[in-house]
Symmetry: C2
Subunit: 339 residues, 2 copies
């Protein structure tokens, strides 16, 4: 085997999934009692602890630059893991871990900013860091700082990617693309008159409101991270064995994101978010969930963007207003290290 | 604040603890119901889930080289986290996470070896990886591959660092120093006629045997990792508010480790292990625990090396055979990236 790792292997798409299934997790075996496990490739795993559903998740955050308009690696690390728990149904976070790896010679003041941002985001999400780890690599052995956050939470009702049924309404909680587009714009050094910035944020409070309103009426949830909205919708469709029909005009995208995306040649549907969730909701509950989301300060832009259907299984059909096309999962990330 | 991160900040000793307390975790707040939390700086945190004590822990493994005599980064990553859970009393591992960060251009075949080694160690420890993450950094942005493993487990009886009482017997489960000394010898390019190699291994099965025998008679446990046996004993003494008296001649050290340590100027008491645990055991239970440990294939070298005492509080007194001296926590690791 002469193959080498390429950037696409870390992009969250097909190349990564193949590497995980064929190499990284090829010989792992799931515990017999896991409710959601490795084979499901969901946002986290679910293992029973007595009567409780314990959700477990992990993400390493390698974002470059670590400070960006609208956030930083600390806010991203807490939000990312809180959101993976929340979209599994675990809006009640019982503990986060903070594992920092930093390069020798890194400014302590920067670490301080990152840690303070983590603490503020933890307070915002009512999600405590309970334990951590700190490692230092030699100068030149690591580009700056990276942060792994794992997390555990309790889900009363588990909302897996595979939960969609035909006719379930598909809701997005916020406009898409701000995080990835603003980050790449910043990286390209593009100046805006506008205030385009990342909307990275923890969503467990918002999603708890949806779950309180509809309970099992919320059938599936996912955060559209590295592969963007297009990636998340395709995964939901594939795992649920349904088609998904999306009305393009209904997907909230700000004009700044649209404009900058066009300038950079980037599709806002195909770029990383970390402050947005996609929900599947039973048709009878959809109206109430949408109202509950919009009543929450983090859900004012929530929109019903389409629904699950019985044909086109495993695929996402985009109604562009003048006809239909398949919305495909992007082949790869447009740029590495944006989350 | 003009300070820069130095290698000592990742060494597990005073400099790291100060960085954690003053910077990395300065503004984190512990959940009200945590039984063991950040402030305790123990091997993991303990949060209640219904009636169960859930132990949560994390470690990033940055070892260099990733393949070494006796093991590799995969075996180390699983063992390290299983052992931090086990020394908190959570020998029943409910889930591990595997978060891999790898440099572009890294050989896929090496990742395969690492993942297979993780899988084999998971099977050995009956500790399933339930979820993971994969990120790729650009060529030159990371030196090879690092692995974060977090873990959750259930403790019937929690065994914190602070659990020692005067007269508790201090037991070590194996000879010390193999891991660190063999790794540094390898790194220095020293050739041996001997078969000196790391004894990295998961210990939850062994420690379960001790807990089954003595229950609450096992009062404290810790794994002597980055700061070696000296570091672990000093932490146990400090946190428990007792002194610890150790008989030097009773501490098992192989002659290979002794000889190579002398050649390299390294003290086997002050170097990293990952396959050794230190136990505090109530005097009435000590004999039975020692027998249970020795009856287990991973505990044949177990030895009672000393006891907790009422004076010299917070310190470790080493009886050298010709007198006493304080066994101090090493000021810093002898070398970075050995675990
Ligand atoms: N190294 C690995 N070992 C085992 N499983 C992995 C590994 N990497 C990823 N996975 C699994 O693959 C699935 C997809 O992972 P991915 O990281 O894309 O999900 P995510 O965390 O929701 O997304 P993101 O990382 O973009 O936030 C998850 O179920 C995850 O557990
Ligand atoms: N970045 C961090 N944020 C919060 N707490 C931290 C951080 N780094 C370390 N800690 C805490 O400091 C204590 C000591 O950590 P340390 O990593 O030395 O323990 P360990 O994992 O048992 O040892 P090792 O990493 O050598 O195996 C732990 O309680 C840990 O939770
Ligand atoms: Mg996710
Ligand atoms: Mg994620
Ligand atoms: Mg650690
Ligand atoms: Mg430990
Ligand atoms: Mg450890
Ligand atoms: Mg991930």
């Amino acid at each position: 085997d002469e193959r080498r790792i390429e950037l696409k292997h870390g992009a969250g798409g097909t190349a990564m999934r193949d590497l995980v299934n064929e190499t990284l997790a090829a010989n792992f075996s799931d515990p017999a009692d896991a409710l959601v496990c490795l084979a499901d490739m969901d946002d986290g795993a679910v293992v029973p602890i007595g009567d409780a559903n314990l959700v477990v998740t992990t993400d390493t955050h390698v974002i470059d630059p670590p400070f960006f308009p609208g956030g930083d690696i600390g806010r991203l690390a807490v939000s990312g893991t809180v959101n993976d728990l929340a979209v599994m149904g675990a809006t009640d976070v019982r503990g986060l871990t903070s594992a920092v790896v930093v390069e020798a010679n890194y400014p302590v003041a920067n670490l301080e900013r990152i840690a303070d941002s983590m603490a503020a985001t933890c307070a915002e999400a009512d999600a405590p860091v309970v334990t951590g780890d700190t490692k230092v690599m030699g100068n030149g052995e690591l580009d700056g700082v990276i942060v792994n956050t794992a997390g555990v939470g309790i889900a009363e009702h588990v909302t897996p990617d595979a939960g969609l049924s035909p006719n379930d309404v598909v809701i997005v909680t916020d406009s898409v693309g701000e995080h990835g587009i603003s980050l790449l714009a910043e990286r390209e050094g593009i100046e805006f008159g506008s205030d385009l910035e990342s909307d990275v944020k923890p969503l467990n409070g918002l999603l708890a409101a949806a779950l309180e309103t509809a309970g099992e009426g919320v059938t599936a949830m996912k955060d559209p991270t590295r592969m963007g909205l297009a990636g998340a919708l395709n995964e939901l469709a594939r795992k649920s064995g349904v088609g998904i029909e999306i009305r393009e005009e209904r997907v909230p995208v700000t004009s700044d994101v649209k404009g900058t995306g066009e300038m950079l040649g980037l599709d806002p549907f195909q770029i990383a978010n970390e402050g947005v969730a996609v929900l599947g909701v039973a048709p009878t509950a959809a109206e109430d969930v949408l109202t509950a989301l919009r009543d929450h300060p983090k859900g004012t832009n929530a929109a019903a963007i389409g629904k699950a259907i019985d044909d086109h299984r495993g695929r996402v059909v985009l109604d562009t207003g003048i006809g239909n096309r398949y919305l495909r999962e992007p082949a790869s990330e447009p740029a590495p290290r944006i989350c």
